[in-house]
């Protein structure tokens, strides 16, 4: 029996390599973390009409995000109660019924079992259909259009769970009056690596950028080689938000936007003054990157926004589902500029993101040997140099630091040791 708490050393700020490549650790994570936290399942704009649905995953479980016939948002296990086949194998759509391909049991978008072939002849009308609806995830809550679900019927509300992180998410998803919508489609790609390596990087590792993304600096796109910004504490900082969440804010000059996009940025800045607090409004349209524990990350800069889930697929594989968000009110031309930028930079072919995947894959693939496992990884950067500030929540550090990143492992340890 592994003592999971021993894998994260709170005093030394170190983490065992086993956390990133051990099958036993992974199996326990699925239970102790993924069935007990708020997990992102989709955006409200993806299911606008009654009977709209989207298929995704919560940890290891395939789920259906639906808007039922009466308009309520529900999350259901995508698994027939009879033999367990997925009742829906499309990415999204609109349907009154999900018909299981195997024996034909049929469920509505609220999960109720509506049809059973041979109910009379072979079940002798003795099957109580009310008992055999799709398994419903007990809690579903939204934050500014972002829908989360939780297998745990008890515990913190989504708002309590997000805590200080909500203030920072608002910098992106609440910076405009009419909010954001999702682009159609999803960047879905496979990467070698452990899901936590991806989550930690977005939650507070700007330190990697100068080395791993040096190619971008070399071609003149990373305007500042060390990715640290110029105004520490003020506009260039990292935040440990509690509950394992982390956020990075940089006010890096991203170069000149096309005129129509620059005009739209001005519109967002004007709207943000009304939708946000004065302290928040000052930070709008910085480079912003964050992770909501355990596996939702968000990145927003030069107008594009990606929300992505690092779906765990064994200890050494990640399935990335990345959705693009854009302001509802953006002109079509701006939507197109934004969509192209997202694909160019942070996507399955992104000129930043290509290289991230290689680091995570290498660590998971090659560092699982019995010798290397004895020596923990170092997360000590910036320890003891953060402070609480009046104008923004959370524990603030100037870049670079790994205190926010380590917060993810503090939360991980707490949940794994329960």
């Amino acid at each position: 029996m592994t003592d999971f708490a021993s894998l994260v050393d709170l005093d030394r700020c170190t983490v065992s390599p086993r956390v990133f490549n051990d099958q036993d650790v992974y199996e326990v994570e699925l239970e102790k973390i993924f069935t007990r936290t708020w997990l992102f399942v989709g955006h409200e704009s993806q299911i606008p009409e009654p009977n709209d649905y989207l298929t995704t995953f919560m940890g290891a479980e395939p789920v259906l995000l639906t808007r039922d016939a009466s308009g309520s948002i529900r999350v259901l296990l995508n698994s027939c109660r009879h033999r367990g086949m997925r009742v829906c194998r499309r990415d999204h759509g609109n349907a009154k019924l999900f018909n299981c391909p195997y024996h034909g049991w049929a469920y509505d978008t609220g999960g109720k079992l509506r049809g059973v072939p041979q109910l009379e002849e072979s079940y002798y009308n003795e099957l109580n259909r009310d008992e055999w609806g799709l398994i419903e995830i007990p809690r579903v809550e939204s934050f500014r259009g972002l829908i989360f679900a939780n297998f745990d019927a008890e515990g913190e509300s989504l708002e309590e769970y997000l805590g200080d992180m909500a203030w920072y998410l608002d910098l992106i998803v609440n910076r405009s009056k009419n909010g954001m919508i999702a682009f159609p489609g999803c960047h879905r790609w496979r990467l070698g690596g452990n899901w936590k390596l991806a989550a930690e990087q977005f939650g507070g590792d700007n330190y990697h950028a100068g080395a791993l993304h040096r190619s971008m600096v070399e071609i003149g796109l990373g305007t500042q080689g060390d990715f640290r910004g110029k105004n520490p504490w003020i506009s260039d900082f990292e935040v440990k938000c509690g509950n394992g969440h982390g956020f990075i804010n940089f006010d890096i000059d991203s170069g000149e936007a096309p005129p129509i996009q620059a005009a739209f940025f001005e519109q967002i800045r004007r709207e943000a003054v009304e939708t946000l607090t004065p302290e928040q409004a000052k930070l709008v349209l910085s480079v912003q990157v964050g992770t909501v524990f355990p596996n939702l990350s968000i990145i927003s800069f030069i107008g594009f926004t990606s929300v992505r889930v690092w779906h765990p697929c064994g200890p050494k594989e990640i399935r990335v589902h990345s959705y693009g968000l854009v302001e509802h009110d953006a002109p079509p031309e701006v939507k197109e500029i934004t969509r192209k930028m997202l694909g160019l930079t942070f996507s399955s072919s992104g000129i930043y993101e290509q290289d991230d995947g290689v680091a995570w894959g290498d660590i998971a693939e090659f560092q699982g040997g019995p010798v290397r496992r004895k020596y923990p990884f170092n997360y000590q950067m910036g320890r003891g140099h953060g402070k609480r500030m009046d104008d923004k929540p959370g524990l603030i550090h100037p870049p670079s630091t790994e205190i926010g990143v380590f917060g993810l492992y503090e939360k991980w340890r707490e949940m794994m040791a329960r």
Partner: protein, 164 residues
């Protein structure tokens, strides 16, 4: 006439593969017009009667113009594009070239299939498979690519570090 045209296009596609597999990316870019659109919509699993890749604002794996193609190539030359450093071994196979529309002698619409094999140092081997819809235009210098839509036949794709 059509056979001759198909052979001409096949020849330039073979040249493309030769240049890409030989790391001659700049020479490959030179086969594109200045107003090139090089794009690859994401694929979705929808109903049989629903086309997935013609939705407005659909996300794309690539949607490049001359400038961004140049950036992608320049990045590979820095020595710090770590996903391709050391470079992967790549092999392009292009087949099933079909002229879709040759009504204009200066501009043809062409369909083709591709398989791209990629082997990365110490990591897995992958295949990228799909079809392409191209527009080739005839110039004084020869055939030049004006538009390429890449239709990947993948649901969950690999980290795309290659050109198709």
């Amino acid at each position: 006439m059509t056979t001759d045209l198909r052979l001409q296009i096949e020849e330039v596609m073979i040249e493309e593969s030769w240049l890409l597999d030989g790391n001659r990316f700049e020479d490959w870019l030179a086969l594109m017009t200045d107003d090139i659109r090089y794009w690859a919509p994401v694929r979705e699993n929808l109903g049989r009667d629903e086309e997935d890749f013609h939705q407005l604002h659909l996300l794309t794996h690539f949607d490049e113009d001359r400038m961004t193609m140049g950036l992608r190539v320049a990045r590979l030359r820095t020595g710090f594009a770590h996903a391709e450093e050391p470079p992967s071994r790549r092999r392009h196979f292009v087949s099933n070239v079909k002229i879709l529309d040759a009504s204009s002698p200066e501009s043809v619409q062409v369909a083709s299939n591709f398989i791209v094999f990629r082997s990365r140092p110490g990591l897995e081997e992958h295949l990228f498979v799909g079809g392409r819809r191209d527009q080739w235009v005839h110039t004084e210098a020869g055939w030049r690519l004006r538009e390429r839509m890449i239709i990947f036949d993948h649901d969950v794709i690999e980290n795309i570090t290659v050109f198709i």
